[in-house]
Amino acid sequence: MPVKKLESSVLYRRCDAKQFEFETTAELEDLAELIGQPRVVEAVNFGIGIQRNGYNLFALGPAGTGKQSFIQQYLETHAPGEQVPPDWCYVNNFADHRKPRALELPPGKAVLLHNDMDMLIEELGVTIPAVFQSDEYNTRAEAIDQELNERQEQAFESLNKKAEAKNIMLMRTPTGFTLAPMRDGKPIFPKEFRQLPEEERNKIEKDSNVLQEELRETLHKAPQWQEESRQKFADLNREMAAGVVTHKIDMLREAYQQQAKVVEYLNDVEEDIIANFRKFLPEEQRRASLFGIDLPGQEEEMHWFNRYRVNVLLAHDKNGGAPVIYESLPSYNNLIGRIEHTAQQGALLTDFTMIQAGALHRANGGYLLLDALKVLVQPFAWEALKRALESRKVNIESLGQITSLISTVSLEPESIPLDVKVVLLGEPIIYYLLSYYDSEFADLFKVQVDFARDMQRSESSQQQYARLLATLVRKQQLMPFDRHAVARVIDQSARLADDNEKLSTHMRSIQDLMQESDYWARERGEATVNAVDVQQAIDAQIRRADRIRERLEEETLRGTIMIDTAGSKVGEINGLSVMMLGGYSFGRPSRISARVRLGKGNVVDIEREVKMGGPIHSKGVLILSHFLGARYALDYPLSLSASLVFEQSYGGIEGDSASSAELYALLSALAEVPIRQSLAVTGSVNQHGEIQAIGGVNEKIEGFFDLCNSRGLSGEEGVLIPASNVRHLMLRHDVVAAVEDGRFSVYPVKTVDEGIELLTGVSAGARDVDGNFTADSINRRVEERLIHFSMQLQRFARAGKSEDDTRDDGD
């Protein structure tokens, strides 16, 4: 039964604007939910709801499907109702400055603590000096000093008196003391001494020795007295400092009594301030003085007081809900935080105030959205993310440290517990590769959120789609779209989905189309966007991208690329292929030719031989030889050598959509029946001769139509497509119009026999009860040709001639 050409009505499924009750999108309400992706909504609900380890989400889907915007919108809707996570601060660790301590505070309290500590230091800068300038302190300090002086002076005075009583004088030497004889308060010099009677000299000498011993004992006691005095002075200082510091800190301890770690920190602060009270004294009290009179001195660095500051790593609004963070640059440091440094005299210095939060900190207690590919291409970022999720805490380590490239002293901040739900966004291939190659991935990202590239097209879904478009109009601040424009966008959406029963969920393309339609409408000075504007936007998109297509068509028309669209030829057929350049794809016809001769039963794919054919294409060609063998050479050897080639193809070829065309060319060559060049063919074929669906059917038909149309349509031109592709048809209006006028045809083909009949006008033929094909049919001719090859081969074998010596033109 001959194949019927398709009616124009099935070539394009038009969205009827009459079904819409609105005039423009301005009348439609926003669409809150995600349409056409029920699986996604279920997965997200589940992933967000389950509070177990490893139940992080991976949203996979083609770029532009709106994964991020949907999930972000979903989370931002739900997060405000969730518990606000705690605030976190880093403070100095007074026991080990290299290991800053992390403090957890209720939401909103971190900033308060920061301000309280700043205020404390400011106040102590006033109160501590006041205490140390008080009469009480001065009196007590002086008393300690006086006591020491008196002890020392009494000791020396006592020694002096004893010495004077014995006419001996205590004198200073460059390094100590000595005892010299004296008379009338003046030393007795050697000359005078020698003139003294021996008895007196001996007495002086003896007395001097005794006093010497006493002097030594006095000097021995001096350090001990000084030490005692210093200790008393230190105790006094501590007492005075504690008097003011403890009172202030007590007020803070009261305010933060619910936070045990903060209280512990305040205890350490108290100890440290008391130990370092001198730093709070005004600069002049620490300057050099002239006889106790203050004089200008060196400026003291204020940097020292940073030790009491509070570095607020995370501060939350107590009514703000859970955070939702999208990190656009998920580098190692942007994820886990960083420790900054400041250069001072060539050295890099840091302290806990230079610790900066990363995205994991900011999202702690909430949600973190990351682009999977960006995480993977950032050095160490993926490992750091996994480590944080596995350990459920964030450790800030510099890259220099973990790679051991830099050996400078840095900080080791205390880790912060992590409770975050990470949502990775990526292409499906990334998800599958990670699942396959990274054994930890499955443990950490257990929730798969699979975004489909299209959705079912029905009247109700088109209504919802219209609301979606209305939402986009408002979000993008576009002019309202009238219902005809909406219908045209929906049609284009089906075309993008390559299926007239589906609508595309590739939101970026739809959004681009709407924005461009809005542009053209504004150019025309309209207040609303109509179908003409949408069509103009589509045409302009194609126009901007189709320079290569136009050039190829031009060269075909000029005869440089040889494609016949009229007449008949043996072993030659117009195949159809799709070229994808950037985001634009178009169809183009290619001449496929087949030559046959006596051989060993192999079909040579010349594309494969020169490594220009991909594996799927080669598979298609191999299927052909087995189809031939199974259909025509069941009882004798397939003694055929055939070659197939895409003429004037200078790039790689992949896919099996031309396999039916190659089979037709082969059958034509074997049967020696010419093929109509006004027809082009697409579709793959299986071993049973059934034509199978292919992709890009619209582009392929339009590609051949454009060429034929340029040469002038005679009504003979048309395309054979797999019948199973009919539901994918969303052809251009000019193609549909040509079909409607009978100037162009599209044939849905189910089998090879149907196709070859259309192409040759000769019956394919079927086997009768005796197993013979119908006389003069294509199949009969093919079978006879193959039997001829086989007989010929047997004759050669009998004659002892090798096949290699055989010369046959093959046709």
């Binding site: 001065n138 300090a141 002086e142 000093d145 006086q146 020491l148 002086n149 020392q152 002076e153 020396f156 205590l170 004198m171 200073r172 030497t173 460059p174 390094t175 100590g176 003391f177 000595t178 005892l179 010299a180 004889p181 308060g185 003046k186 030393p187 010099f189 050697p190 001494f193 000498e205 001097s208 020795n209 010497q212 002097l215 030594r216 000097l219 021995h220 001096a222 000084q226 005095s229 050099a288 003085s289 002239l290 006889f291 106790g292 009179i293 203050d294 004089l295």
Partner: protein, 248 residues
Amino acid sequence: MRRIAVTLDACQVSSSTLEEAVLLAARMGAQLEGIFVEDIDLIQLAELPFLREVRSVSRSEIAINLTRMEQELRVLARRAERLLGEHAARQNVSWSFRIWRGSIDTELLTADTDADVFALIRMGTTLARPATTKAVSVVFTGTDASMRALETAMSLTTDPYKELNILLPAENEAEAMRLQELATRQLDEQAANADFIPLKDGSLNDVLEVLADSNSAVLIVERDNKLLQAPSLRRSLNNLNCPLLIVR
């Protein structure tokens, strides 16, 4: 420009002492002359065979040896000169340095110097001085030299004369009043802030008592004050609890 001479001996060569000397010169806007004193009495006594020295820090005992002592004095002088230079450069004070050998008791006050102020930093045995002392005390006798001493004292007070003690050695009340009037005239309208303290007899003990009560950081006297004579300068300095500035 005024000149100030600061005597340094073997027991004062510390950085803080020298810094104080430099700061004094800076405050008075004076040139500084550092005089390192080699006490001839000590050098002569070194020849006594039985004399031994007890080191103040190590507390070790050693026989005094003239050669070693002179060597140690030279080391100290060099150190004093270096430290003085460093402090003077820091404060941008013009300075000079020399070594003077003689008797502290009999010759120091006649040392060959044209300085207006002669600063004798205490040579006593006290190892620590209260840090809280702030007052400036000056002995005022009404002479021209004591007028200059009063001017020097005024230049050293920060808060106008609040910490200024003017000691008036007077045999009777009328004499004390006369001196106070003289001093008041010398001071300006802020004179009321100063403390006038009559001395009973102007003796060393009398002055020491006042200094202890007034918590003085420095004592300023005129060149001819009797404190500098009796019984000996060395003993006066030893008993003073603060540096002594002698104004010529």
